[in-house]
């Protein structure tokens, strides 16, 4: 490992103001330098002696340079996220101050690459030059399902903007309006990204997740609960604050669960009024109802304004059970999985067509309203 002369010069320039970072401490008084690492301390060094001594703690020096000069951005979500990637201490999270790995431990791990998971993403941070690391890190990114794949089997990218196309369609070619739906396609990799490029790429795949994670880490995630969000709406969405309380529960159960979204719902009906449904275990905090939920809420607000009636219709017990199976198959998105000849499944297409032929006439389902 080597320290470049530029690194040393930069460090010396900063030293007179004092340096304290990731275990490296340098202070200067009237030309006398003191230097500390967690393992050693030196005092009364002149500049030449300081230079010489710094050569013996090069990991701390190159680490300082990477974070303070290359990454920068003190207090930003970008910096915190990149530090999280390599298990570095996160100084802006009070409760995490003592966590995180020390520099030598991280440096050992960075030679092999450190893996982290972010939703359906797998991130590896490693040294650019493994044999002779100068502290410069690069980041690789791919789908967790491809963790064991060879790069040659994947489509390899290096421009963050390519992530937009990856995020647009699911594996069946359908549009993904919800970026945090657990349907990100696999088969691709970004390699050798800089820290800024990694954050940008994730910004396209999972917009705002890093910013919200950072806010949550610092304990200042700003949550807008259902009533605040609903009451703020205007235009065609003005009606959503009329959605009954219990319907908001049904809506959360329908939309805001782990099977549908990687976000963990932090918003409730109101600040002091939790929804009955659990918010899920998703990795990303969800701080207010998203635009998909708002759009769907409008439909449900209109539907819930209808009166209920009692209907009479003829069904066998099996047919009644079959209705449940049909609803369940659509709700779980498993209609494509039902085999052509599996007539034992109530949601089988031929079973559904038979039911329609028998019970749905030209005027629709043969049901009679009996409460008029």
């Amino acid at each position: 490992m080597t320290i470049s002369s530029d690194d040393l010069e930069t460090l010396l320039e900063r030293a007179s103001d004092g340096i304290s970072f990731d275990g490296l401490r340098i202070a200067e008084t009237d030309g006398d330098y003191s230097l500390e690492t967690p393992d050693n301390e030196w005092h009364g060094l002149d500049e030449a002696a300081l230079r010489e001594t710094l050569e013996t703690c090069e990991e701390y020096v190159t680490n300082w340079r990477y974070w303070q000069e290359t990454v920068g951005g003190e207090g930003t979500a970008r910096r915190a996220f990149l530090r999280w990637c390599e298990h570095a201490p996160l100084p802006d999270a009070d409760e995490h101050t003592t966590e995180g790995l020390a520099v030598p431990t991280r440096y050992d791990a960075l030679r092999n690459g450190i893996d982290r998971q972010w939703g359906q993403l797998s991130i590896t941070v490693r040294f650019v030059d493994v044999d002779d690391p100068d502290g410069e890190r690069v980041y690789d990114l791919w789908h967790v399902d491809d963790a064991d794949s060879d790069l040659v089997d994947l489509e390899v990218y290096d421009d963050p903007r390519d992530a937009r196309d990856i995020a647009t369609y699911d594996e069946d070619g359908r549009y993904r309006p919800l970026k945090t739906a657990p349907t990100l396609v696999s088969g691709w990799a970004f390699t050798g990204l800089s820290g800024a490029e990694l954050v940008e790429t994730i910004g396209f795949l999972y917009p705002a997740t890093i910013a919200n994670w950072h806010r949550e880490l610092r304990g200042n995630l700003d949550i807008d609960h259902w009533t605040e969000t609903a009451e703020r709406q205007t235009g065609i969405y003005d009606v959503i604050d009329e959605l009954p309380r219990e319907a908001v529960d049904w809506m959360a159960e329908a939309c805001c669960v782990d099977s549908q979204c990687l976000r963990r719902r932090e918003w409730e009906y109101d600040e002091d009024d939790d929804l009955d449904v659990d918010g899920g275990d998703g990795p990303f905090p969800c701080r207010e109802p998203c635009s998909l939920v708002v759009a769907a809420a409008r439909k449900w607000a209109i539907l819930e304004s209808e009166e209920e009636h009692t209907y009479e219709l003829e069904l066998t017990t099996s047919e009644l059970n079959q209705l449940e199976e049909l609803i369940d198959a659509v709700a779980e998105g498993r209609t494509d999985e039902i085999r052509e000849a599996d007539v034992y499944d109530g949601a089988n297409r031929y079973r559904a067509r038979y039911l329609r032929a028998k019970r749905v006439g030209e005027g629709g389902l043969e049901a009679t309203q009996v409460d008029e």
Binding site: R78, Y175, P177, K179, G203, P207, A208, G235, E288, C290
Partner: protein, 301 residues
């Protein structure tokens, strides 16, 4: 540090709706004029609501990629960005003259320069003319040609038509085209009767829409009689009632739109160096290289 946010509608149903937003943002990224450039949407992510927090810059220029001043630019975007002190009066606009308002987003500690929409900026007139040039593959197009600027139009918002009429008037004043007419989908005069409004044999039709979708790729071509069924596509030019109609879809996809975005930000005080020249060069080359005269891939919204 300064950041640019391009605020657009987006769609839950149509993946192409955001294409122009990304394209213009990418063009501006290439210029390096802003430390950060971010797309934000009403119907996609990052949502208007979340976008400002993804920025590191303290100085943020928000340019709505919308055609008209109205509901979205005056109510929805400022509200969702949490610009608490916003009031449409701050634009002091007659419906086409909004420039910018400087506001503090207290929750994130940033200064937001909230700009008028691209559609009503004077530079948009040039984009419409450039669209006519690319549609007809003729940089000197004008003589012997009628130009129709087509807008949605709606009884609900008078500003919707104002933007269309404003640019039509400006192009008319240039005396470049033989005839210039503003036509609409949902109000008189209607685009269905386009040939009634022109004597010129050649009519170039430029829809003042941001993205291609249901209206520009289905409604308008069928309404004008370019095709029986949008799925079959149409010719450019297409023969209708003895006229040749040159139609290629939404003006918002024109590369020069990035220049209008930059103009909006500059008017609001952004320091962009020579980025506009770069964008104009890029837009020119794109217009030359990527021109595809046929259209008709219906997208729906």
């Amino acid at each position: 540090m300064q950041a640019l946010v391009i605020a657009a509608h987006g769609s839950h149903l149509n993946p192409d709706a955001s294409d122009p937003t990304y394209a213009h943002a990418d063009t501006i990224r290439e210029t390096g004029a802003f430390d950060e450039v971010r797309e934000a949407f009403w119907k996609e992510e990052p949502h208007f609501r979340e976008v400002v927090r993804t920025l590191e810059a303290d100085e943020v220029f928000v340019v709505p990629l919308f055609i008209s001043e109205g509901y979205f630019t005056e109510q929805v975007i400022p509200r969702e960005l949490r610009l608490d002190d916003w009031d449409p009066e701050k634009w002091d606009s007659d419906g086409t003259s909004a420039s910018q308002a400087t506001l503090e987003a207290d929750d994130v500690g940033k200064t937001i320069h909230y700009c008028g929409p691209v559609g009503t900026h004077d530079a948009m007139t040039d984009v419409i003319v450039q669209r006519a040039e690319t549609a007809m593959e003729d940089p000197d197009v004008g003589e012997g040609v009628g130009l129709s600027v087509v807008g949605h139009g709606t009884e609900r918002n008078e500003n919707s038509a104002k933007a269309i009429e404003y640019h039509s008037e400006r192009i008319r004043d240039r005396d470049r085209f033989d005839e210039v007419e503003a036509l609409f989908m949902d109000e008189e005069p209607e685009v269905d009767d386009v040939t009634d409004y022109f004597e010129s044999d050649d009519i170039v039709v430029v829809p003042l829409f941001i993205a291609d979708g249901y209206h520009t790729q289905e409604d308008i071509p069928e309404d004008m009689g370019l095709t029986e069924d949008y799925r079959l596509g149409w010719d450019v030019p297409a023969e209708v009632d003895g006229h040749r109609i040159w139609y290629t879809g939404a003006v918002g996809t024109e590369a020069l739109m990035a220049d209008v975005v930059l103009e909006r930000a500059t008017d609001a005080g952004a320091d962009i160096g020579d980025a506009r020249e770069t964008v104009r060069d890029l837009a020119g080359s794109v217009a030359d290289a990527d021109h595809e005269p046929s259209a008709g891939t219906g997208a729906g919204d």
